[in-house]
């Protein structure tokens, strides 16, 4: 037997007009849009003027829950009507609502002073970030020294685990994307170069751009998205589940056991991934050049060492190490700042990826300025 839909009817008795409620006044039924809409007009009528003076008959109600009672209580203007026909259980329900009902909160307006304070909080947050980042970097240096003093006691098992998850498992995706970028670049450039009859310069342009810039940056951005987020999420979840506190209680330094292995693994994996990505991109470019312009792979191989000095490769490797450490540190930084709730974990992960990608591009620009006379 399904109870009836909640209903409110106007009655005109000899004693005076009033309202009779019937049906199932529970949250689930009230929430059905049709019921809610029809009740609104009825309740508005009751509330319009003399809600308290007319008669309210609740005896036909099949069910009244707290939500229903609250709806009624609000319609009555938060006081008891003078004429009320009601069952004891319903009265108890309404009494509970009366007992606990609070006046609606006063909406607070944001003043200029509050905006100013919010700005100040933002500055403090920035300072806090910088202080944390500095502390993290300093701790990493100290931990590196500790590792150099006693290399045998280092967290090598962790390092090799991270090396696998950051480096080895990223090989397929970096190769695929590098290859595709190489193909696209070579194809687009071949269209331009052919107009000048400078077909053979494809090797110089492709070689220099891929080895010096695209390889390191492409690999770094991919790894920032792939492993930077993982690092933040891993450490963030450890915060949520109190694992970080457990480590601290056991006297295990989180810098040495969490940050250092990840930084080392990144510093090792990043240059290798860069070489790998650059190779894939060159391969893609070489194939595209062969197909579109007939620049043979043999010519490509022969002229690449002449077009691109070895110092470019050294520069790319150096950059990659810096990118790797940067991504690891930013990932750890945001991971350690996660507060024990899901929202903070999500925000931390997003902020980590965005910051590390932005920092990679920024640092790359700095490298380009500082080493503008090297290898070109």
């Amino acid at each position: 037997m399904t109870p009836d839909a909640p209903r409110i009817e106007r009655i005109s008795a000899p004693a005076g007009t009033g309202f009779r409620l019937s049906g199932d006044w529970s949250a689930a039924r009230l929430a059905e849009p049709a019921n809610w809409a029809s009740l609104q007009s009825g309740l508005a009528l009751g509330a319009a003027g003399q809600a308290l003076d007319v008669k309210w008959d609740l005896r036909d109600l099949q069910r009244l829950d707290h939500t229903g009672a609250q709806v009624l209580w609000n319609a009555w203007g938060r006081q008891w009507p003078r004429q009320l026909l009601i069952e004891p259980a319903q009265r108890a329900m309404l009494s509970r609502v009366e007992q606990y009902a609070l006046p609606p909160p006063v909406a607070r307006r944001t003043s200029a002073w509050q905006l100013f304070l919010a700005l100040g909080a933002l500055v403090w947050l920035l300072i806090d970030h910088l202080r944390d980042a500095t502390r993290l970097l300093g701790q990493l240096l100290l931990d590196t020294l500790r590792l150099l003093r006693a290399p045998a006691k280092g967290p090598w098992r962790d390092v090799s685990g991270h090396l696998f998850s950051i480096g080895a498992t990223a090989l397929p995706i970096t190769a695929l994307l590098g290859f595709l970028i190489g193909v696209v670049l070579a194809y687009l450039m071949s269209l331009q170069l052919r107009q000048f009859g400078a077909d053979s310069f494809i090797v110089n342009i492709l070689g220099l751009s891929v080895i010096r810039e695209l390889g390191p940056v492409l690999a770094a951005i991919l790894i920032a998205g792939r492993s930077g987020s993982t690092i933040t999420a891993q450490i963030g979840v450890m915060r949520v589940t109190e694992e970080l506190d457990a480590m601290r209680v056991m006297g295990i330094a989180k810098g040495y056991r969490l940050v250092l292995p990840r930084a080392i693994a990144m510093a090792l994996a990043m240059p290798l991934l860069t070489v790998w990505t650059s190779l894939a991109a060159l391969l893609g470019g070489m194939l595209a050049a062969d197909l579109t312009m007939g620049v043979t792979p043999a010519y490509f191989f022969a002229s690449l060492p002449r077009a691109v000095q070895v110092s470019n490769l050294t520069l790319a490797m150096g950059k990659s190490v810096v990118f790797g450490v940067l991504i690891a540190l930013i990932g750890c930084h945001y991971g350690l700042r996660v507060k024990p709730n899901t929202e903070s974990l999500g925000q931390g992960t997003t902020a980590s990826v965005v910051t590390s990608i932005a920092m990679v591009i920024l640092v790359d620009a700095v490298f380009a300025l500082v080493f503008k006379d090297v290898g070109i």
Binding site: M1, T2, P3, D4, A5, R7, S22, G23, S26, A27, A28, L30, A31, E32, P33, W36, D60, Q62, D65, H66, T67, Q70, V71, N74, A92, R96, V97, Q99, Y100, A101, L102, P104, P105, K339, P340, N341, T342, E343
Partner: protein
């Protein structure tokens, strides 16, 4: 929709709130099946305060999850409020069953008030002011101050988390309330307070309550009936006095140890009148 007009509110023989018939719970773990329940029968009537007890790993929580429809019966059936338990999780479930998880399971990204009003907000019809009013009433019904309304779950003590979770479970006034270890992790004072709260809510709201607990004090304070899970089925089910008289090694160890004796003292005292 039935016709309007006066109708008998309650049918002659009220159907059981929870009816478990020949239930088998089986977990498939690497290579072998672990049978947790085997031909388990249990019937819970409206208005009861049914406690499920048993040793660690005896499948009490699995039984609770079966009633909630979170696990699937391998064989047999679980019927809750006249529907198969598997269909509970559909829209509007909050108006049929409330569940208090052992650790509260509050949504950590929401404030206390948003947590309590979440099920109402999801209905999509009620204005925010009404949801706030209803949640505020529920907040105070479980004994919290209105000032706690805007705290985040991470800032609450264990006892407060349980109370907020209870308010959230009750927000749509479901007829059936399930409790998983309601007093675990609470200090004796908060535990006593929480037990008193559960007792008064059970009485005032006419709830049917199913509770899993290890805490003998809570068990004897609240239960109108106790079901003992052991050997993959219910070995005893009845009022506390009946169950304690049952002759089974587990029942003997569980209730008649020193802790059990102390806790059962409450049964010998005259009932508290309030």
């Amino acid at each position: 929709m039935s016709a309007s007009g006066p109708v008998a509110p309650v049918a002659a023989a009220a159907p059981a709130v929870v009816e478990i018939d020949k239930l088998w719970s089986v977990f498939h773990t690497a290579g072998r099946d672990a049978v947790v329940h085997q031909d388990l029968n249990l019937r819970i009537e409206a208005g009861e305060f049914m406690s499920i007890v048993g040793g660690s790993g005896s499948g009490k929580t699995v039984l609770l999850r079966q009633i909630l429809g979170l696990e699937r019966p391998a064989r047999g059936s679980v019927t809750v409020l006249g529907q198969p338990a598997a269909q509970l999780g559909s829209e509007g479930a909050a108006s049929r069953v409330g569940m208090l998880f052992q650790h509260g399971a509050l949504f950590s990204a929401f404030t206390v008030l948003e947590n309590i009003g979440f099920a109402l907000r999801e209905l999509g019809t009620f204005p925010a002011a009404l949801i706030r009013d209803v949640a505020m009433v529920k907040l105070q019904m479980v004994g919290l101050e209105p000032a706690q309304a805007h705290k985040m779950p991470a800032d609450l003590s264990g006892g407060m988390v349980k109370r907020v979770a209870l308010a959230r479970a009750l927000v749509m006034d479901p007829p059936l309330l399930l409790l998983d270890e309601p007093t675990s992790g609470l200090d004796p004072d908060s535990a006593d307070g929480f037990v008193a709260l559960l007792r008064s809510l059970h009485r005032e709201l006419g709830l049917t309550v199913v509770m899993v607990t290890h805490d003998l004090d809570t068990l004897f304070e609240l239960s109108t009936r106790i079901a003992v899970v052991a050997e993959k089925r219910i070995i005893a089910c009845g009022t506390p006095t009946e169950v304690m008289a049952h002759d089974h090694p587990f029942v003997h160890d569980f209730f008649l140890g020193a802790r059990g004796q102390r806790a059962a003292a409450v049964l010998r005292q005259p009932p508290v009148t309030e």
